[in-house]
Assembly symmetry: C2
Homo-oligomer: 405 residues x 2
């Protein structure tokens, strides 16, 4: 039996124990020795749990047990997750995690410690929840020059946007409902401000580029300002509103990396990614568009992805599973203000002349009949758009429009 | 340099050579030694091709060159592809193929020869074209009990159905157009009769079950009988018509495996898979639904998938890459006539009473105003449905309805 330990018996951690238990016959078909959870590390006791006898409170018990070959870090947050992961890897124990915050901050360092100690640092569950995504990028698309990734990467905000669109409710009300259902956290900032999506697109871009994209360098804009009038404008434009994480490779070899709400045309496969689902559209120079779709969060989908990593590590005991992410090579991103695109803008109807002055007369008019003048600009840089929009007095909101290809 | 040969310099074969050439810098990042195409086997000469000097006509030249480690079999058809592949594997040369006909017929035998000779038989490109699909099933979902696969697996028929729906043209006209554009073959039988989809779902079910599903045991129904009236009925039912390959695990452990046109509700992610794209929805017991989407055919996407296999083999020279597909264990499928589902049926309006007699009065009526009585049955077995439909005189067409979950 290959012995493992699970750090943190919360939603994902308890899911990992359950997946390993319920699907053990399937897993043992692949890993003939079998995989056993020997310890569960948590501050709490779980007297009602069938796994209560495995619970320990002292990490050293796990670290000093030479039987332990793989650890699942499902605690979240930077500390003590970072210290625990580092200590395990330094002992040659592989670590599988769902902790995107830690991966975005310390991924390449932990990968390199793993390499040094002939074990692996794996994080499939940190992006796209249960969707097989990072492993296919590393093992099935390594022959592709990936030039663009466009992803719905956060289930909470996608749920809120889907509900707002379907039910006509406003943002605060829908957020409250999502919190009541457990789809949004009590402090929803990381989700609604786009930070969670920003971390995930930083991880994806790092894996694609082989260098390191710092989360701090990713332009992040959230969904808190989106109103029913914006959804109406999106419908007039033939689209829906989605919070996207995007990385795009420019001709100069630099990536533009960002998170923001976009109007997505109904023809795009991303338009049908609704509720808590995630969808990640990847463009390669030979394969064209491929998309990966599934539940981006939730106990069992996320746990399933952690267990996929555990199985991979179990098949590779004593070996490093290669991941090309160089911490010493920080990617210099393209300046965000040079990004080009179209923008949907809503202003007061009496600013029509001012719009013509600023954006010319060839804007695509969506609505000029309801007291509001709603239009889509031609292609502009972010800087140009900001300058021109600043010349208008009554910009109610503006949302970027996703290019068709 | 790792030396390779390409068998067949047609659409896919020439694409493989081009992908290896154009993306060599990317590939060399993964395979440090580099990958070189030393030979191209074809009956023809290609005096205009930049690769003309690599062309040979005698397979023994390739087989007897000890430098050759990997062969790409992009000839299609059973012979000589089978003999060529077997001979290579027996010499310890890995074979990567896009040949679904051969994989469906001889996959497990060739895998087992590969295993015996410490090399690999790889066929990512045989199902879903460029979509990373088989490798994620084997390496990212091995912890899942996969209970259902529902796939749009044939680009030609999906293009025809998409055009018929959008343009209101009939089947023959749309097929002719698809042939003119090169999307359909001169002899379109394998595509339009569902055989191609049938082979692919047989391969998928084999990989999932670990046993062997014979193509001959797969129920196959094509799209040649679909009319505009059927599309109209599908719209009334809130759906679209798609040719699906389905495998579903029953409670008795047997799979139902089939190919047929289905009415797919617009809520399903499969409903937006249009034109030549493929989409494969996989249901696992823990991960729930995941979908893989992309171009299911075409020179570069298919070639890209072959090259993904080549890279995998290049990283594993002298080793067998495990694929669990047992040729000695033929899967006994569930009897097709026991399958349960709903059916959309179109009959003459004056058979309304006969419909009530056969199917009861609680059928879902879609239309009773245009001279036609169009309805959806309750859930029935295939046998029950066939019996009841036989009691009606004027069944114009019937199409199965995909269950929501």
């Amino acid at each position: 039996m290959i012995q493992t330990a699970v750090l943190g018996f919360g939603t994902v951690g308890s899911g990992v124990v359950e997946v390993l238990d319920r699907n053990s016959d399937k897993i043992n078909g692949t890993v003939r020795e079998g995989i056993n959870v020997k310890y569960i590390l948590d501050l709490r006791e779980f007297p009602e749990s069938p796994y209560r006898d495995k619970v320990v409170h002292d990490y050293d018990v796990i670290l000093n047990d030479p039987d332990i070959k793989i650890i699942c870090e499902t605690m979240g947050g930077k500390e003590p997750a970072y210290t625990f992961s580092r200590k395990a890897l330094e002992k040659g124990i592989s670590v599988c995690t769902s902790n995107k915050e830690l991966v975005a901050a310390k991924g390449p360092e932990l990968i390199s410690i793993a390499k040094e100690h002939n074990c692996s640092y794996m994080f499939e569950a940190s992006v796209g929840g249960g969707i097989p995504l990072l492993r296919p990028i590393v093992t099935s698309l390594e022959q592709e020059k990936i030039t663009k990734v466009t992803g719905i990467l956060n289930g909470t905000t996608n749920y809120i946007l889907t509900k707002m669109d379907a039910e006509g409710a406003d943002f605060d009300e829908t957020l409250g409902e999502a919190q009541a259902k457990g789809y949004a956290e009590r402090n929803p900032e990381a989700d609604v401000e786009g930070y969670d999506t920003g971390r995930k697109i930083a991880i994806l871009t790092s894996l694609i580029s082989g260098g390191t994209v710092k989360f701090e360098d990713v332009y992040c804009e959230g969904i808190a300002k989106i109103t029913q009038e914006d959804f109406r404008a999106a419908r007039l434009a033939g689209g829906v509103i989605k919070l996207l994480g995007i990385c795009e490779l420019g001709e100069d070899g630099r990536y533009t990396v960002m998170t923001a709400p976009f109007i997505v045309g109904r023809e795009s496969p991303l338009a049908m990614v609704n509720d808590v689902y995630n969808g990640i559209l990847i463009h390669g120079n030979m394969v064209d568009d491929v998309m990966f779709y599934g539940q981006g969060a939730g106990r069992y989908p996320t746990a399933s992805a952690v267990v996929a990593d555990v199985v991979d590590c179990a098949r590779n005991i004593g070996k490093w599973i290669p991941i090309d992410w160089d911490g010493s090579k920080v990617e210099e991103l393209a300046p965000f203000f040079e990004r080009k695109g179209k923008f949907m803008v809503r202003v007061d109807i009496d600013e029509r002349a001012a719009v013509a002055m600023a954006f010319g007369t060839s804007v695509q008019v969506l609505d000029a009949a309801t007291g509001e003048f709603t239009f889509i600009t031609g292609e502009l840089t972010e800087k140009d758009f900001a300058d021109k929009a600043a010349s208008l007095k009554t910009v109610r909101n503006s949302i970027r429009v996703l290019a068709d290809k």
